[in-house]
Symmetry: C2
Subunit: 195 residues, 2 copies
Amino acid sequence: MAAPDVVPPRERILAAACELFYARGIRAVSVDDIATAAQTNKMTFYRHFESKDLLVAEYLRSLAREADGLWDELERAHPGDPMAQLRAWVGHIGTMISDCKNRGCALANAAVEIPEKDHPARAVIEAYKKHKHERIAALCRNAGFCEPERIADEIFLLFEGARVDQQSVGAGGAGMRVGELICTLLKSSPRNTTN
Amino acid sequence: MAAPDVVPPRERILAAACELFYARGIRAVSVDDIATAAQTNKMTFYRHFESKDLLVAEYLRSLAREADGLWDELERAHPGDPMAQLRAWVGHIGTMISDCKNRGCALANAAVEIPEKDHPARAVIEAYKKHKHERIAALCRNAGFCEPERIADEIFLLFEGARVDQQSVGAGGAGMRVGELICTLLKSSPRNTTN
DNA sequence: CTAGTGTGTTACCGGTCAGTAACATGAAAC
DNA sequence: GTTTCATGTTACTGACCGGTAACACACTAG
């Protein structure tokens, strides 16, 4: 019963962009599509965003923030226990991979769609992926793995691979088993400390 | 000194499409771009291809054939020696990953760019990825690994991950080390037969 | 009451896109 | 020499795209 309008247009536009860009791909979605989905129009769009390219960058930034928030949550849920954080993350993977609406990592997808090195989205993608890898690596180091960098590389690549695999072969692919794979990896890798 | 024209237009068009689609992305390349790069024109293009979508499927089919040919080569080079074939393949990975012009797997990229389930390219992509995974799995089985399916999944996903990683973070990413990772995996995984 | 601000609406610009029609050219086939 | 066939050329259609101009409307602040 509340006013349907309490959400300001900029947020509605960004939310619509997130949905459409992810579901259909960035190049396949027009500014008009986004404005219409946000229940506004192109003119209002351009009052809030300089260009489509900058909206794309903003879209990726918002997803990066969201993903980072998830990792912060894991840290709060298991403070000082990197192994528990890793295991909890692996749990999340399962639900994410088995979701049929999931089309892989939006940042990685954007990297595929946007090869131009000077596109404003590029810096966001690169920073996000490096940050994510470093976050995994830090957990592996703190978890006391004997070869933390190698384990982190492996986890990172397995996960990235699973998310593209989902788009290539769909539900029947090897990506569906990535949770078990990482779990096995965590269990079988030697550590200096035991906890 | 030979006639510059001995290559028939259909082949020139397909070759140009391979180059442009891979380098810039499918949606970013127009039919006109391809025709011009093939030193012909749009009209001749449409005399050889029904539509752009069907050319895309053909483009992916030709790359799938090419990749399959590489695996056939490995088999011929090391007949009856699946471990040697795997090791030789890992060798190829290194040169592929370190090539800065490399933009990952064209088939996987196409899967990202084309979410439409009824697009003619979809069937090509799915068949290719399943075939490739099965080919790796067969090698792992024949190599006598105790858990051939798990090793195959891991190799497959590590490789897929490395190829997307290359596009996201570029030359400094974890993907650069995928050769060593798979190599270590092959060495450290228990096998029933020793050769 | 009025000024200012954010929004909606319509129309437009220049450009690109996939795909087609009509006709000219060239070379080989007979 | 003429038919045939693949190719080149130009021009076009209808649709879409990113982005902008101009103006109308509603609401809020003073």
